[in-house]
């Protein structure tokens, strides 16, 4: 794009051997003795190009290939009024949640015309707003919002993944939090747990409210008490986005410091569950002998933690792919696309067992179990 003052490397593309700069439509036209119009029509293979005899078509195509012609995206976008650009926004690159969603998005977009900007806002609303403006300036046609909820409509099509309060302006891909939480608590209840502690998600973040409401509903249904003393909310730590596990550890420490007994802990997500497990160990409690722990998300490290984490599996990659799919369809035609809601499932691993009171053999040595 920019002129290079000195090329130290040998030119490795035909296009660059040409005349120092990239070959343009005009130069190509001159070489072929045809007009820019003709070349453009043929290169783009528009219906009108059928006017030209096969021979001319081949001549143009061949020449374009030989000279390594690549249309200038900026000129093209300017004329066509389409950019094929998508903006992705996430709070951070995370410990497995965001990255897995991102890979799902990439997978779906791989063989399309679209290219993605990705930016992160570290939970700063103003940064989020700023990114949206920058991306719009850059010409993105649509937005994929992972766990990110702007206060105003971005003014372009947007698909939110796992955000709360789906606003009217966005399409939403989410999982059935109530179903997942129901499964998790039922699992603990079935094992015999009655004293369950809860780590609630961050204020105003993604699925916090929905999951919390599901906890309240499920517990009421199952006759389990939700004790405020056994409830703690995650607080963000600086620098945001890099210490999620630490947040869970601190939450569990606070919980323990209150002195109220609990035999199980349901964390907001896996990473906070893992941090909490660390805190429990530090306080001399064994998992799952003393305290059973359940996470949410099923990120990769959940399965290699020790003990391997029982959790609610979210099809993260599929959610990313679904979101990308919806956005692409929305951008292609103004087709009316609908929200997608997926079902998570419970994955039982080694971090949950019956509560200590239910088995008076608490000194049993921990068996080495397969962790998956």
């Amino acid at each position: 794009m920019r002129p290079k003052p000195k090329k130290s490397t040998a030119p490795d593309r035909a296009s660059e051997a040409d005349s120092g700069s990239r070959i343009t439509l005009k130069k190509l036209a001159e070489r072929l003795g045809l007009s820019r119009t003709t070349i453009s029509l043929i290169i783009n293979d528009v219906p009108e190009a059928s006017r030209f005899p096969e021979e001319t078509r081949q001549r143009v195509l061949q020449s374009a290939r030989d000279l390594g012609y690549r249309p200038n995206y900026f000129a093209r976008s300017l004329g066509r009024k389409r950019t094929y650009l998508i903006g992705i926004i996430a709070p951070d690159f995370g410990n497995g949640f965001e990255s897995t969603v991102l890979s799902g998005i990439e997978r779906r977009l791989l063989n399309t015309e679209y290219t993605c900007f990705i930016s992160t806002h570290h939970w700063s609303p103003s940064l989020l707003q700023g990114h949206i403006e920058t991306l719009r300036d850059r010409g993105v046609e649509g937005l994929l919002l992972i766990n990110s909820m702007p206060t105003q409509s971005p003014g372009i099509p947007a698909v939110t993944i796992s955000g709360d309060h789906p606003p009217r302006w966005s399409i939403r891909v989410s999982i059935d939090n109530a179903f997942g939480i129901g499964k998790a608590i039922s699992h603990l209840a079935n094992l015999g747990h009655k004293e369950i502690a809860f780590i609630k998600g961050h204020e105003g973040s993604g699925d916090t409210e929905e999951r919390w409401n599901a906890i309240l509903t499920t517990c009421k249904k199952l006759g389990i008490r939700v004790d405020p003393l056994l409830t703690i909310q995650l607080e963000r730590l600086e620098p945001t986005g890099t210490r999620h596990a630490e947040e869970g550890r601190i939450a569990a420490q606070t919980l323990l410091s209150r002195g109220k007994r609990f035999t199980a802990l349901l964390a907001f997500n896996d990473i906070s569950a893992l941090g909490a497990m660390t805190a429990l160990r530090e306080a001399g409690r064994s998992v799952p002998e003393d305290v059973s722990v359940v996470g949410f998300d099923d990120i990769e490290v959940a399965s290699i933690a020790y003990p391997a984490l029982t959790t609610i599996h979210q099809p993260l990659s599929a959610m990313g792919a679904a979101a990308a799919e919806l956005l692409v369809r929305k951008l292609a035609a103004e087709e009316c696309v609908e929200d997608v809601r997926l079902r998570p499932d419970l994955v039982v691993r080694a971090s949950t067992s019956r509560p200590p009171s239910a088995r008076r053999s608490s000194s049993t040595k921990r068996a080495v179990k397969s962790s998956r």
Copy 2:
């Protein structure tokens, strides 16, 4: 960018209330009774704009603000021949390595003019090559290559982060692998380990060779035998990029199946170390009582693993920031920027201890230690 057929949401920007479409320089000029030239010069605050009296300047600026004028990036890039676009390429979004480097890059680029494309290639050379071409077509001015090494020069400035064999066409940000490996092995040797197993990195990936050579050199110096039977190379699993821990688990299983005794294991990186720890447990070996494990990278989960992982800390975020810095400098002026090499350090946690032979009190109950 594209015409919206029906706007269901209320217009939230002045620019959109205008005439259905975004306001252009021309419209702005007409409203002000000035020429496009004048507006352009003033908006861009070029030196030549000093010609215009302060009063005119303010009038233009104010009006632009009021009408929510935002220059069209495509038109601008076309004329200026600068795009302020950077392409980032990584194998995948990973479990902590890539994401931390990415956040370092983002941090450095946050208050600059640059915007980033990010793409991943899942270790496919052809996909990597394809991404480079796509990004070049899209007009990126430079590339940040995380653990990704194209076979040919990309033809634009590039900074590689943690890649092997730095080619002449790129600037390189890396850590001193030899130093790190030296620290790791010395640590094990000081504890009394002599039978050390090694998990070598993937064929052709990033720091594999450098670390492997460092292992050979250090072991020779310390008089430690590098036994082929205690050496295993990581193999990629499908779908690539999502099962790094599993790769480490399989490697350790293979190692164990060979029946050769070892008291310590040095893994290529943290995620494979964690997978290996799982395999060791499954085989009934305790970490660190029976086998000490050392990782490399110090990703976040290393510190919350159980036992917390002793590892070589890489300043990942700083490396990302440094790479971005170099690229920006390179793009700004053709300033001659040099490679950056950073020093990692050893972080001793709970996954290493003296070998079983050295302490004949092998039935000691594992003490609960602080994990950081």
